[in-house]
Amino acid sequence: MPFHQLTIREVHEGLVQKKFSATDVVQSCLEHIEKNDGHIHAFLDVHGASALEHARVVDEKIAKGAEIGVLEGVPIAVKDNMLLAGTRTTAGSKILESYIASYDATVIAKLKKEGAIVIGKTNMDEFAMGSSTENSAFGPTKNPWDTDRVPGGSSGGSAAAVCADECIAALGSDTGGSIRQPASLCGVVGLKPTYGAVSRYGLIAMASSLDQIGPFAKTVEDAAILFDAIKGADAHDSSSATASLQPTLPSLKESVAGMKIGVPKEYFIEGMDEDVSRTVRDALEVLKKEGAELIDIELPHTSYALSVYYVIMPAEVSANLARLDGIRYGRQASDAKDLAETYRRSRGEGFGPETRRRIMLGTYALAAGYYDAYYKKAQSVRQLVRRDFDNAFRSVDCIVTPTSPTPAFLLGEKTSDPLAMYLADIFTVSANIAGVPGLVVPCGFVSRGESRLPVGLQFLGRHFDEETVLRAGHAYESATEWHTQKSPLS
């Protein structure tokens, strides 16, 4: 198998046994990116020289007989909304087109400490706003299974890069489904951790009460390795978890025999793609065969979660993006006559249409006279969505649902109708609203014309119980072979 197709575990074992070098693995990824990325545009920047230099250092360490960590020498791609000091970080926006990050995000610092190699920065919807990666100011990413289709979004670049084997694993961020939906559409594993499990310091903020960084990987085990490496409390993020979190990896291989898995009826709705629905139901049977007990449950406020999301998220977006005013960093409009015009024009010219739309929506929802009707109301309904989960988790250990109502849609199919695009997140937003962890694992394929398109199964768990969702996902993955299927561009 070519080195770029390996998993984190396989790279680590190969390095330890000196079957190949870290330089071989990085070189293989770089060559594959060179050959392949023109077709899918997963990367905005490739850090070839620094990755090779880093690999050389790891190889020297191995040659001296030193022990290496599991991520040491492993090429990881990072969504371009996480700061890597001294390199360009755009968040997919024209306003940050030439912005050079001044410090390392906590997740980057942790990856560096573990010896992982950042191989490049991946494409994304502008400021992580979108479900297709078509909102990137630098052109869309395409789905490696069918390049006429979207990879999902907003972390579409990271999902496509892992799917096409342009890296070994990747980081993304998830505010309403931006890790899980593209993982489903590209057929890779994606984990949105519990809100607060991973520090958001150095993640360019979209909606601060919803944003969470998490891994994309080729296997559930790799996702657990990466999650264990990046999680933990951080003095720079006051919302990061104060409790110390146990590693998830040790218990991963336990079976799901006797595990109570909830199946919420609100997630099997009319209007959902029938092939996707059938694929997910087949997956439920696999879990049953593995010994899990499937229990019908209700999450009665599910249908309101998307409305809650489209009040709270734009409200937080409008506040967070106020800092992008063309003064301290980022693009500044030239020849404005005064300060007010500098603000208006730098923002008007620097932000794309979806970003402008959400800033307008959020500003409206927070404006005097509308605050109670929208923002306060949404925060109350948010508590009800959270209580639904609290109630459900009294009788089940985790919950399993579809991830996206459809497989990957065509490029351009939904760009003219914002609301249709927003509905792509209908099964994923609840986890962000309630703050619970969500894992997506490939669970089959549907046919569309000549193409086979992947479908993902979503596991939702209790707050800070990533261990159970990873264990359930791992049991499902071990019983199936969907995760071993390679896209035509792998």
Partner: protein, 97 residues
């Protein structure tokens, strides 16, 4: 709920966003459609439900009130990112005419 052109202009002013006339009209239609969708929240009975701004239950997370200096490389990168500066100072347009 339909938004008027005047409301759109007011929101754009609050948001410090320059929008073209064509965009203002488009924005009014799109925001109205989204607001219609969001209006289903009004169906939900939330009497007696608290509203909190987060779901973690964290209370009063405080930091030590200390000045932490950044290293020289970081300082240079922060300065280099400024679109308009005079030496180490950030230059902005006048506020009063």
């Amino acid at each position: 709920m339909a938004l008027t052109q005047k409301e759109i202009e007011h929101i754009a002013l609050l948001a410090r966003l320059d929008l073209s006339n064509e965009e203002k009209e488009k924005c009014a239609n799109e925001l109205s459609a989204i607001l219609d969708y969001i209006d289903q929240l009004q169906e939900v009975n939330t009497s007696g439900v608290s509203y909190e701004y987060q779901v973690e239950g964290l209370v009063n997370v405080l930091d030590h009130d200390e000045v932490v200096v950044c290293d020289e490389d970081t300082r240079m990168r922060i300065l280099a990112a400024m679109p308009d500066r005079a030496g180490d100072l950030l230059r902005v347009k006048g506020i009063f005419s």
